[in-house]
């Protein structure tokens, strides 16, 4: 085995690389040949053995009080989280459970009780109101029909009297005549033979 390297010159690169390797052990060829790395591996082994030993927990960790403390913290956490969310989702008017039960009870009682009759006179008033309503609707419909009929007849008469005649196009008349007696209206010269 080599002598340990001089600390004044620092750790050689090959030793640094070896120690940084996760597979480095005291049995590796480099460690067998290098006293400094062998010592480092012995230290590492000692450290890892110490690290494997779990610290002794205090007896309080196993006590009922500690467990109750954890439980309390869980419940407090859940309550804090749940008190925020439903306020948005749930309607504000929703009654609390006991109130909802009381309302349900009242509703059941109301449905079970038969309603009292309003009396014959009241029913006659209702009947008359319904008949009047039907009659007034019928009269209104008749009035509308008469007005629609009159408007249609007036429109037809206007079409027959004014409409068709005013837009009629005159049929042109073609007259062949000598230039000495040219007509007063539009005319076209039709030449025949060579220019003079």
């Amino acid at each position: 085995m080599n002598r340990p390297h001089d600390p004044a010159h620092g750790t050689p690169p090959e030793c640094r690389a070896f120690r940084a390797s996760l597979e480095a052990t005291a049995e590796a060829p480099h460690a067998r040949a290098c006293a400094a790395c062998a010592a480092a591996m012995a230290l590492r082994q000692g450290l890892t053995s110490a690290l494997r030993r779990a610290p002794t927990p205090p007896p309080a960790l196993a006590s009922r009080e500690f467990l109750a403390g954890v439980h309390e913290r869980i419940v407090a956490g859940i309550e804090a989280a749940s008190s925020l969310a439903p306020k948005i989702a749930e309607p504000i008017e929703t009654p609390a459970a006991p109130l909802r039960a009381a309302l349900g009870d009242q509703l059941a009682r109301a449905l079970a009780t038969p309603p009292t009759s309003p009396g014959e006179g009241r029913w006659q008033d209702v009947r008359r109101a319904v008949i009047d309503d039907i009659a007034s609707r019928r009269a209104a419909r008749t009035r509308i029909a008469v007005w629609v009929g009159l408007a249609g007849a007036a429109a037809a008469a206007m079409f027959l009297v004014v409409g068709p005649g005013s837009d009629r196009v005159a049929v042109p008349t073609i007259v062949f005549a000598d230039l000495s007696s040219a007509p007063s209206g539009d005319f076209t010269v039709v030449r025949r033979g060579a220019d003079r």
């Binding site: 690290l51 610290p55 927990p57 989280a81």
Partner: protein, 209 residues
């Protein structure tokens, strides 16, 4: 291929309904099953019993609050240990922020020994025996390095399990593990030189406590 069933699946299912009849019994069983393992990891990261106990409470409270989000994509224990590590690191950060302990982080200062400038009196007292001194040395590392060492050696996790628990890539786990080893060895050499031989001797005889 047969998939392994999570040994905690039934208890976890019973714990999903805090108002249900079986909740308290399931909660007690789950708590009893994991409390000491949770405590050990928390202790490694936060460095003292009082804070570790607080982390245990905090972790279990958070666990039940988040249980609805646990879909069973991993083992329950993997999920629980991730919560514990995060709670422990948060706890430690809060303490560091209050100025009680100041440790350099190897994650931000590559190659610099993470030496604590002011070890607390409780750590001094624990340093009376070897285990306490090793814990003291660990407490001088950054919380992330402490966490990976705790999971690796207390829970005997493989690199794949570490990656799943810490939510890291396999490469990151390996490099962090290597840095944790180097940093811890550097701390022991620089701050506890007398430990070096003691640990090596005890390792040779199979007794490192």
């Amino acid at each position: 291929m047969e998939l392994l069933r999570d040994p905690d699946a039934d208890l976890v299912a019973a714990c999903r309904e805090p108002g249900s009849e079986g909740f308290e019994a399931a909660f007690e069983q789950l708590f009893a099953r994991y409390r000491e393992r949770v405590y050990a990891i928390a202790f490694r990261v936060v460095g003292n019993a009082v804070d570790a106990m607080d982390v245990v409470q905090e972790s279990f409270a958070l666990l039940f609050r988040k249980l609805h989000a646990f879909r069973g994509g991993s083992l329950f224990s993997t999920w629980l240990f991730r919560i514990v590590v995060n709670c422990s690191i948060d706890h430690r950060r809060k303490r560091d922020g209050s100025g009680r302990v100041r440790a350099m982080s190897l994650d931000s200062a590559e190659g610099v020994d993470p030496i604590d400038e002011s070890p607390s009196p409780e750590l001094q007292a624990q340093s009376e025996e070897l285990g306490g001194q090793v814990q003291h040395a660990i407490s001088l590392l950054s919380p992330k390095l402490r966490a990976i060492l705790a999971l690796r050696y207390l829970e005997d996790m493989s690199y794949d399990e570490l990656a799943a628990t810490l939510g890291l890539s396999l490469g990151t786990v390996k490099s962090r593990m290597a840095r944790a080893h180097l940093a811890l060895e550097a701390v022991v050499r620089n701050r506890f030189p007398h430990l070096e031989h003691g640990l090596a001797d005890r390792a040779a005889t199979g007794d490192a406590g």
